[in-house]
Amino acid sequence: MMDALTGTLAVLGALLVVLAGVGVLRFRDLYSRMHAATKATTLGFALVALAAALAVDAGRGKILLATVFIFVTGPASAHFIGRAAYRAEGIDVRLDGPDDLGDLLDGAAGSPGE
């Protein structure tokens, strides 16, 4: 019973992580890939961690610690990378819709951007 539960959780989580991986492979630009990477990995990872925490006899504390750490740092590093990529030159940031950040930075620099 317990094995079935943890097994299902682990497989479900791993499935989400795979989906995120496929998204990272298939999506057409950096930001879309980051959407897949930050969201789907985080929940998938949480499910795997939950399964592991239920199933192991020792080391629950470490699993919890690593999970909390990844939950806190995942969005933070995504923010760093996204911010840096926007400012860096030569990265394909394709936007179909509005670009309020570009307007802001252009206004500050006084130069026309993309």
Binding site: S32, H35, K39, A40, L43, Y86, D100
Partner: protein
Amino acid sequence: MNRLVRLVLLTAIWVVLWSEPSVANVVGGLVVAGVIVALFDTWRRGPVIVRPLAAARFLAWFLWKLVESNVVVARTVVAPRDRIRTGIVAVPLRGCSDAVATLIADAISLTPGTLTLEVRRDPLTLYVHALDTRDVEQVQRDVRTLEVLAVRAFGDDAALAGLADDDTTSWRAS
């Protein structure tokens, strides 16, 4: 009070890392945590406020959105990409402490179709990358709902008062 909480937290982490709550580990942890707390006073930005009920509400809403965002991403991965119209949307917020702003920005990155790219102060504005910007106001509404929930759970009195002035968003709205 703040320091005591940090001391206990750091000691707990130390004991977890040694994976055994023996006397030596607890004492060693207390010494190390004491040195760290004394040397690095990084949490000077005001007291930590937690309103349990509102925090639970925030957590529940956040977890629900996390599941929803995974469904959205999964659907976008599997199905054709006709839903995608990416863009960057500026979302002005009502103003809150740095810690709460960080929490909001983090939560946005984990909710459906949005990713925080930039945070500006005076006035507090988040620049959010969204997968679907066909309805810009919807994106802004979602972020504001998150702000209301976060401020109610962890905001200081000034931020709460700011909400009361202009409280058009119900936390039930999603």
